[in-house]
């Protein structure tokens, strides 16, 4: 439940369905139906936009779930509902995951060096292991017929 009391400046709710007279004559008929005048003179107030949620997308069953961006929302349900239209309005989607930005943890950039030597650990790579020469040498020596 939100904390604020009634905003004293909010408009009366009745009568919002009558067709407004043109304050500004626009080429857009939708704009001509908006009550722009009440807004035009008001001060711009700062107002926090909602917190962000990191969104993860799974294209097909069997594939990895991948980070694709953020949405601003206030609850998990809303984050999912809004993520659907921002990140899944084209192509295939099996599912979406959301997590608050504040719930996602990362290493600091200053610790990037912990990853630096990993590519050199070739003993973990299949290409490190070559025995073809050894096999041929053995076959030649022992006159093995293949």
């Amino acid at each position: 439940m939100g904390a604020s009391g009634i905003n004293k400046s909010f408009r009366k709710i009745s009568g919002s369905f009558s067709i407004k007279t043109n304050i500004m004559s626009s080429l857009d008929p939708r704009v001509n139906r908006l009550d722009l005048k009440k807004i035009a003179d008001g001060e711009i107030q700062t107002n926090s936009h909602l917190i962000t949620w990191e969104v993860f997308h799974q294209e097909k069953r069997g594939k990895q779930v991948e980070h694709c961006g953020i949405v601003h929302a206030s609850t998990p349900e809303m984050a999912l509902i809004l993520a659907k239209e921002q990140y899944a309005r084209r192509g295939k989607t099996t599912n979406l995951w959301v997590a608050k930005t504040s719930d996602v943890y990362t290493f600091g950039t200053e610790d990037e060096d912990i990853f630096e030597t990993t590519p050199e650990k070739t003993f973990r790579e299949p290409a490190f292991y070559k025995v073809r020469d050894r096999i041929e040498k053995f076959q030649n020596k022992n006159k093995v017929n293949v």
Partner: protein, 252 residues
């Protein structure tokens, strides 16, 4: 099969979808929050797509093609309820309308998956998922806004009070209710309304919103018989402005 009964059902569903889709597209670019702007816009595209699919079914039954049915029919031949014709108003009204209308729509399509008219049951099975999302959206926002701040609560209740007599007009019975039921085409507006009331009561209660009580005389009927609000004619004039600006044979 009673083709007149079937066509009447298809026309009212198609017209409802077209007009509410059209209304909701008016928010594209001016919604209250970017992400919500996107969601509302997608839902409006879905509805317009449903309208097109339903008009295509009518075309298969001998009526004109979808573009002709949508853009070249007279106002009095439309069978949409007056609820969908109303201007978008402020966001409170649009959300309340989206919630009330789509809850009914999901139940309707769910019922139609069992329809004896196969093209309709196939369509219903196909698009049900889209409408399910619309209901998820409506439920979430109605609950959040109903309970949010004092202002949002007051706005939502006021919008609900205004919308209520119009919303009940969705269930205006056609002259073919008995036929539709006996031929298993559609279970009927009476049953639909009953299930709708059950569903929305739960959501509105958890949103701290009260269902207005009105007597039947105040319900806004007429749309299904071609009697529309003052808003449909200007809507159609606007919607068809470009179509009408050139020869009937012009291709856009």
């Amino acid at each position: 099969m009673n083709t007149l009964a079937l066509k009447d059902l298809l026309f009212k569903m198609a017209d409802d979808a077209l007009i509410i889709g059209h209304r909701n597209s008016e928010w594209t670019g001016i919604g209250p929050m970017l992400e919500e702007d996107l969601a509302f816009s997608s839902m409006s595209q879905d509805k317009i797509g449903h309208a097109q699919a339903l008009y295509n079914l009518l075309h298969d039954l001998g009526e004109a093609d979808a573009d002709t049915l949508a853009f070249k029919r007279e106002e009095k031949n439309f069978k949409c309820c007056q609820f969908v014709e109303l201007p978008i108003g402020e966001y409170d009204f649009s959300i309340v309308r989206q919630f009330l209308f789509d809850t009914a729509e999901l139940i309707r399509y769910d019922m139609l998956t069992q329809s004896s008219y196969q093209p309709l049951s196939l369509l219903a099975k196909k698009v049900k998922g889209e409408i399910k999302y619309h209901v998820m959206h409506g439920d979430t926002f109605v609950k959040q806004l109903g309970k949010g701040t004092e202002e949002s609560h007051a706005r939502m209740q006021s919008a609900l009070n205004y919308a209520w007599p119009y919303a009940l007009g969705i269930f205006e019975k056609s002259e073919y209710e008995t036929s539709l039921l006996s031929e298993n085409i559609f279970i009927g507006e009476e049953e639909l309304k009953k299930r709708w009331l059950e569903k929305i009561s739960l959501v509105l209660e958890s949103a701290n919103l009260i269902i207005p009580s009105i007597d039947d005389a105040k319900v806004v009927y007429g749309g299904r018989k071609g009697f529309h609000s003052e808003f449909l004619s200007p809507l159609l004039d606007e919607m068809c402005e470009v179509t009408r600006s050139d020869e009937a044979t012009a291709e856009w």
